[in-house]
Each structure stands twice: as C-alpha cells, then as structure tokens.
C-alpha cells in the first residue's frame, strides 16, 4: 500500500521537471495525465488504507548510524486525510487551470508559457504530498523548502514587478521560518537524539522540547501566514487564481498547520509555555483579520484574510491540543479538510471575475446572478466560509468549539473561542454586503465561462457540503 503513496508523490515530482520544456496542448495533456494519475493513486491508497482498518504504516527507507531514520514514509489517519484533500483539490484546481490559463482570460491573457506554470504547480502538488507522508524531520525540511520554491515560481509567474516582489517576499518569509524552525529541529535531532525520525522527538528533555516546539511554531506560522508573519499572503494573491486556490485551500497555508500538528502529535505532552505563546499570536491574528475584513476591495484580498483567520482557527484547535485535548488535534485536521473545498470554490469564483470581467475589484462587479453558477458559487462560498451550514466549515467550527473543557486549563481558550465566533460574524456582515451588491443587483455584463470551469465549481460546491462526512471516519482515528 505504501508504494501507492510513494508513487503518488514521486510521479508529479519527476513529471513537474519535464513540464518546463512543454507548452500549449501538449503541456495540457501531459499535466492532466500526471495529476489524474497522482490523484487516482492517492485515492486508491486511501481506499486500501481505510479497508485495512486504518493501521498506521511506518517504513524507514533510508537509515544511517549517526542520524537514525533519514528518509521514510508515515501513513496514518492524519497524513491520509490531509493527502486526500491535497490530491483531490489539486486535481480540480488544475482542471480549472486548463481553461483559465488561456488567451480568453481578460485580466491575464496567456498566450505561451503555460508549461512553466504547470511545471511549478505539479512540483507543488508533489512536494506537498511528499511533505505530508514524511516520517523524518529532514524530509519535512526538504519538502517545506521545495514548497516555498514552487510558491515563488507560481507567484512570480506573470512576471510583473509586483509579482516578483510578492514572490520574493513569500519565499523569504517562509524560508526564514524554515531556518528558525526546521533547522533547529533538525539540529536538535542530530546533536541530541542522533535520530531524525519524528518518533524520536517525544524523548526530548522538557526544556529542549519547548525550544523545538517554539521553533516549529515559528516555522508553521510563517507558512500559515499568522501574526506577525501574515502580510506575504495577501500580497501573494498576484499569483494565477488556480495557484492561489491551491496555496490557500489545500497546500502552503494548511501545511503549516499540518507541520505543527505532526510535532504536537509526536512530542506531547508539551510544556505549558508553548500554549501561551501560541495563544497570544493567534489572538493577535484573529483581531487583525476582524479589523481588516471591512476594508478589502479586492475579492482575492478579502479571501486572503479569510484564509488567515480560518487557519488561525485550526491553530486554536491545536492550542487546545497543546493543553492535552486529543480531540483538539482531530478538530484541527477536520477543519483543514472542511475548509479546503469551500475556499477553493471561493477562489475559483473570484477567478471567473478576472477571466470574464477583467477585474477583481468588488465595487465594479454587479449582477452576477445572471450567471447562476458564478452568482451562487460566490454567495455560497462566502456564506460557507462564515460557517453557515450545510457547508463543512460549520462542522469544523463546532469541532473546535467542542474542546471547551480546555477552558479549565486556561481562560485564554475562551477568548479564542469568542473571537472565533466574532470573526465569523464580522466576515458574514462584510461578505453579505458584498453578496448583495455583487450578486443580487442589476448589472449588464454576463460572466461567460467555459463548461469545464462550471463543472469544477459545481463539484467543489458538492464536496464542500459532503466534506465532513468523508473526513469524519479518518479524523476520528487521529490521535497520539
């Protein structure tokens, strides 16, 4: 079974390099075949994993005397759940990209050089999957950096000054996180444990554990764009929309959460000081998002702040896990799963604005209801992100809040919960105003998009509703 997972990330990593040389239709087909095979292998792996009773599989593929486990695969409910999101969402976003990256795109017509975009994206998918199934800290570090590199590649894709600047910013910030966080973790592993396997880290002494944990928190927070490292994400929205969707919905940002979840899973119990640092930064992040929502005019920027807040919620769940709630870990992965598809839908709908209307400025867009898929896609995506059922984020938020017993440990938990609810209420206020002016209003222009784009959006909408039911069996087995 582990071969399936190994192949599912080796194939895109290899094919991604080849895609740099291709362009036009050939690039389309080569990319689609790669991504479809990747997803099929992964889904097949998930199926086998579930039908074999969800037993954790850990295989060390490369070990050395002084470094212990250098390379391996770790297939457990957490990595399988996250990998499933990454591969399925990745496939859908890439399907959409085939039509989106075309000369018909009004804001960013693409005549040539598609191959380069596909190459970075496929590498991105491969690196993300490889990251998810990693079992050693060195692997986490390597693929963390490849993700940052791929992110630089897609953000700078359009080549404008702003794009290049944002791309360097994204790269430098996340690279800084890797330097602080993962280098420390690897260093401690080499010098103190003589083993880089994740399993070894639970035996660290308390003070070293705290240092490693705080270092990883910094790494994770740079990746997830949490305070004080948040500003690269709203800037990175200059990336082509399918890439933004992937960055926000299923990969980059969520991998920060996954990284920290992994360390909490393997290092618990974690010294209490770790919780206070996390809680402080999370509360600051939540406050910033609440304050920033009303001032956003650009559709993708609004969504970027929503991503920061939603991943903040995943960290709220992880903070309760640090306090000893095993279900906090589950709630975090559950929210990650539920959030992915609806955020993807939101971004792909925003993509239709630039594709068909040539603008992302929300003030200039009116009468979307004339094209019901786009109009309702935007309405439901925003409502779903605010946590309105039947969309999955509602259950994700309930899952986080149900760790209320953590309040007995620290009242900061109550503050984070209150801000969680306030955040969704403010987001609803802002986005409902936008829905009223953009969707339910008179307008002349119709949003013309291709059938493939429509199909992808409808599938994402359905997935956003059924996500909790898919995720639940896997998430319920997550634990330490």
């Amino acid at each position: 079974m582990e071969e399936l997972f190994l192949l599912s990330f080796s194939i895109p990593l290899a094919a991604g390099l080849m895609l740099f040389k291709l362009d036009g239709k050939r690039a389309d087909y080569f990319m689609l075949i790669t991504v479809i095979i990747t997803t099929l292998l992964n889904v097949l792996g998930v199926y086998e994993f579930c039908s074999s009773g969800m037993k954790t599989i850990h295989k060390a593929l490369l070990t050395s005397k002084s470094l212990g486990e250098v390379y391996g695969v770790l297939i457990d409910p957490m990595s399988v759940a996250v990998g499933l999101v990454v591969s399925t969402a990745g496939l859908l976003f890439m399907l959409y990209a085939v039509d989106y990256m075309s000369p018909n795109n009004r804001e960013h017509p693409v005549y040539e050089g598609k191959g380069r975009f596909y190459a970075w994206m496929v590498l991105f998918i491969g690196a993300t999957l490889a990251f998810v199934y990693s079992s050693s800290v060195l692997q986490l570090l390597i693929f963390f950096e490849i993700m940052s590199l791929a992110c630089w590649g897609v953000v700078s894709y359009y080549g404008s000054k702003e794009a290049k600047r944002s791309a360097y910013k994204a790269f430098i910030v996340t690279n800084f996180g890797a330097m602080i966080g993962l280098y420390t973790a690897v260093g401690v592993g080499i010098t103190h444990l003589h083993n880089l396997s994740l399993f070894a880290y639970s035996s660290l002494e308390s003070h070293l554990k705290l240092i490693v944990f705080l270092a990883v928190v910094i790494a994770a927070f740079t990746k997830s764009a949490q305070f004080p490292f948040y500003s690269w994400l709203p800037d990175a929205m200059v990336a082509p929309t399918p890439a933004s969707a992937f960055l926000h919905g299923a990969a980059m940002v969520e991998m920060g959460v996954f990284l920290l979840a992994r360390f909490i899973q393997f290092m618990q119990p974690i010294p209490r000081e770790g919780f206070y640092v996390m809680a402080g930064l999370i509360i600051a992040t939540q406050l910033i998002c609440i304050l920033m929502y009303p001032f956003q005019r650009d559709a993708k920027r609004l969504l970027a702040y929503s991503t920061i807040a939603e991943s903040g919620l995943m960290y709220v769940a992880l903070a309760t896990a640090v306090l000893g709630m095993e279900s906090g870990l589950q709630a975090s992965v559950f929210q990650l799963f539920n959030h992915a598809y609806i955020k993807g839908l939101a971004f792909l709908t925003a993509g239709t604005f630039s594709y068909a209307l040539g603008t992302l400025e929300m003030d200039r867009i009116r009468g979307l209801i004339k094209s019901p898929v786009v109009g309702y896609g935007w309405t439901f995506a925003l409502l779903g992100l605010a946590g309105v059922p039947p969309f999955g984020v509602f259950f994700g938020k309930l899952g986080i809040l149900s760790n209320a017993n953590a309040m007995r440990e620290s009242m900061l938990v109550l503050a984070m919960f209150a801000l969680l609810l306030l955040d969704s209420a403010v987001f609803l206020m802002v986005s409902l105003k936008r829905v009223h002016s953009m969707v339910f209003s008179e307008g002349n222009e119709r949003v013309e998009i291709t059938p493939l784009m429509k199909v992808v959006m409808v599938i994402l909408l359905i997935l956003a509703i059924i996500a909790p039911y898919i995720a639940y069996p896997l998430v319920a087995k997550v634990g330490w």
């Binding site: 605010a386 039947p390 938020k397 309930l398 760790n403």
Partner: protein
C-alpha cells in the same frame, strides 16, 4: 469527536409544534400559488424549493433528539428564511432587511447556540438530549439568549418588524406563526433538561423581557401604517405572552408546557391567517400601506371580512380559541404574581382596543380604494382554513394531548 445518535421521535409537546408547522406550511403553499404572480421579474431564487427546505427544516426540528442535528436544522432554517426574505431583491430595503436579519441571527442566535451546544457536549460527552450537569448556568443562559433572539423577544426583536414586511406574505406567515415559536420550543427543551430550576436572575430577566415586549408592542401599534409591520409587532406582543408562561414555569408552576404548546398552535393559526390576509390585501390593492386602503370594505367585502376575522382571531375574541389560551395564561400567572397577571390582562384589553380602532379607521370607514386585481380563490381558501381551525384549536390540542 461528535458522539451522537440520530433519532427522530415526537412527544406531546413536539407534536403540537410540528402540527403547527405542518398546517401553516400547507396553508402557505396554497397561499403562494396565485400570490407569487405579483412578482413580475425573475429573481432567480428558486421559491418553492427554498420554501420546501424551510418547512422541512422546521418540521424536523421538534423531532430530533440531539443538539447537533437540532443546531444543523436550525441553521438550515435560518439560511432558507434569509433567501426567502431577500426574494424581492431589486428593492433596496428588502436587501437591507435581509442583511439585518442574517447578521443579527449569526451574532445573537447562531453564536450563542454554538457555544451552548459545544459546552453541553464538553460537559456531557454526547450531543444527545439529556439532563445538564456541567456548566449548567452558562449553558442555560446561552441557550435562552439564542432562542430569545430567534423568537424576537425585546430587546432582541429589532430585526423582526423589518424582516416580515420584506418577505413574501406566505413566508411572513410561516416566519411569524411557526419559526419564531421554535425559539419557545427550544427554550422548553433546555429548561426541561434542568428541571426548570435556574438562577433567579435568569427567571427575572425572562420576565422583564416578556413584559417589555408587550409594552413596546402596545406603544408601537398606533404608529403603524404598514399592515405587515403591524402584525409583526403583534408577534412580538404574543411572544411576550408565551415567555410569560415560561416565567411562570421558572417560578415553580408545574406543567406549563401544555399551556404554551396550546397557545403556540392557536396563535400560529391566527397569525398565519393574518399574514396571508396581508398577502390578499397586497394582491388586491397593490399596497401594504393602510392609509391607501381606507374604507376597503366598500371595494372588496371578502378581503375586508377576512382581515376583520383574522384580527379577531389574533386578539383572542371568542369564539376564536386563542381566547381560552389567553385566559389560561392569565390564570397561570396568577399563581406566581397577581400584579403580573393583571398587567397581562390589561395589555390584552389595550391591544384589543387598538386593533378595534384599526378596523374602524381603515376597514369600515369612508373611502373606496381601487381594486387592482380580484382576490384569488386559493388565497381565500388558505385563510379560511386557518380561521376555521382557529375555532377548533383547543379541541384539536386536547385530542392530541390526551391521545398521544
């Protein structure tokens, strides 16, 4: 995570609430048939599917036996009602009312309920209904607050007079006659779970809010010229009555569930009839403004007759059965506080006088408003069914209550 067993069952209380939803749902569907013809444009909000989801969610809420499904259905109900409120979205004030409604609900209804439900889960380890032992006061307070926002109890009533006129009339009938009452249902369920023993401040806060609801209603009634706003305030008034029952329960009167459930059904039927009649007025005269309909009895006797009958049903004039329920409310209150009972009785009389004046000023007065369209039979039938049932609600309730 998420320990829950999904079961559906009905006890005597929930069957009356579900019956109320079912009857109003059917009446609203019949009332919609012709009524929706007044909307000339294509709003691209699918009316009947949304209405169906709205009714189905409300029907299931009294049946479920766990807080997770309850909350899920509760939110589906809110979402569906929001889309129905903004059905006429080219009107700017409709969108404004929809925004106000949804945002208020999310902030004051959804948020406290989510906290309450998850606290319950954290304490009990399951979402299934059962006695509350951990975090008791916090859970009860949060639940009651959330339900009060949905029920439109003063001072959380402010969304209600805007939302009801904005929605199509059959939807207003459902919202006023069935949806806000589910707030009462939820409160009963929570209070049952703690055996009606709550800290004194909660009981008195409920009492104060109930009294203020009635007071604000009778102060506001005379200033209303929009007929749907008038009836929306009447809902706030009647919610005050229902909470007065709950207050009596909190102060130690046993078995008030029966009185409330009876009241809810009788009020729901009358309120449904009243709102469907406003739909008839809108259809016939093309306006909701009472000033433009002065002397309507001279133009259209059927519609005017339905309006008078609905108002009598709503104000508890015998032989309409709401009379018996209002008397029951006063009797129950006498067991806990005589002054309160007197106040409620007085409020009833004042409200009746105000409504009588409304009839005299607007219905049987000089003038002859122009009839734009003939009253469709389907709307008349829907109203008449509800009025006839209003004459027999006590009997129906007794039959169900003893036989279940």
């Amino acid at each position: 995570m998420f320990e829950v067993t999904l079961t559906f069952s009905l006890d005597r209380i929930s069957v009356l609430f579900a019956l109320n939803v079912a009857i109003l749902g059917i009446a609203a569907l019949i009332g919609s048939l012709k009524y929706m013809g007044i909307y000339r444009f294509k709003p691209k909000i699918p009316y009947y599917p949304t209405l169906f989801i709205f009714i189905a969610a409300m029907l299931l809420i009294p049946m479920v036996q766990d807080w997770l499904s309850f909350l899920f259905l509760w939110e589906i109900m809110t979402l569906a009602s929001y889309f129905l409120i903004i059905y006429d979205w080219p009107e700017e004030n409709v969108k404004r009312a929809g925004w106000k409604y949804f945002v208020t609900m999310h902030l004051f209804d959804t948020s406290p309920l989510m906290l309450a439900v998850t606290l319950y889960y954290a304490g009990q380890g399951t979402f299934n209904f059962g006695p509350i032992s951990e975090y008791k006061t916090a859970i009860v307070a949060l639940f009651l607050f959330g339900f009060a926002a949905k029920a439109g109890l003063f001072p959380l009533h402010f969304w209600l007079p805007d939302a009801h006129p904005a929605a199509p009339s059959p939807v207003s009938a459902l919202m006023s006659g069935a949806m806000v009452e589910l707030g009462i249902y939820g409160s009963i369920r929570v209070l049952d779970a703690v055996n009606w023993s709550v800290p004194g401040w909660i009981a008195w806060l409920v009492g104060a809010m109930a009294v203020l609801s009635m007071l604000s209603a009778i102060i506001t009634y005379p200033h209303q010229t929009d007929v749907k706003r008038l009836f929306a305030w009447s809902t706030i008034d009647n919610i005050g009555w229902m909470y007065a029952f709950l207050l009596a329960g909190l102060l130690g009167v046993a078995g008030i569930e029966k009185g409330v459930s009876y009241y809810v059904l009788a009020h729901g039927l009358a309120k449904g009839a009243a709102f469907l009649t406003t739909g008839a007025l809108l259809y016939v005269f093309g306006t909701r403004n009472l000033d433009e309909m002065k002397g309507m009895i001279n133009s259209d006797q059927t519609t005017a007759g339905l309006l008078i009958a609905s108002i009598f049903a709503l104000e508890g004039v015998p032989p309409f059965n709401l009379f018996l329920n209002k008397v029951e409310a006063i009797k129950t209150l006498f067991q806990v506080n005589g002054w309160l009972a007197l106040f409620v009785g007085l409020e009833w009389v004042i409200a009746f006088i105000i409504f009588l004046r409304t009839i005299h000023v607007y219905v049987i007065s000089d003038g002859k408003p122009e009839v734009k369209r003939k009253l469709p039979v389907s709307i008349a039938i829907a109203v008449i069914i509800l009025l006839i049932l209003s004459l027999a609600s006590q009997f129906v309730c007794n039959h169900v209550w003893t036989g279940w």
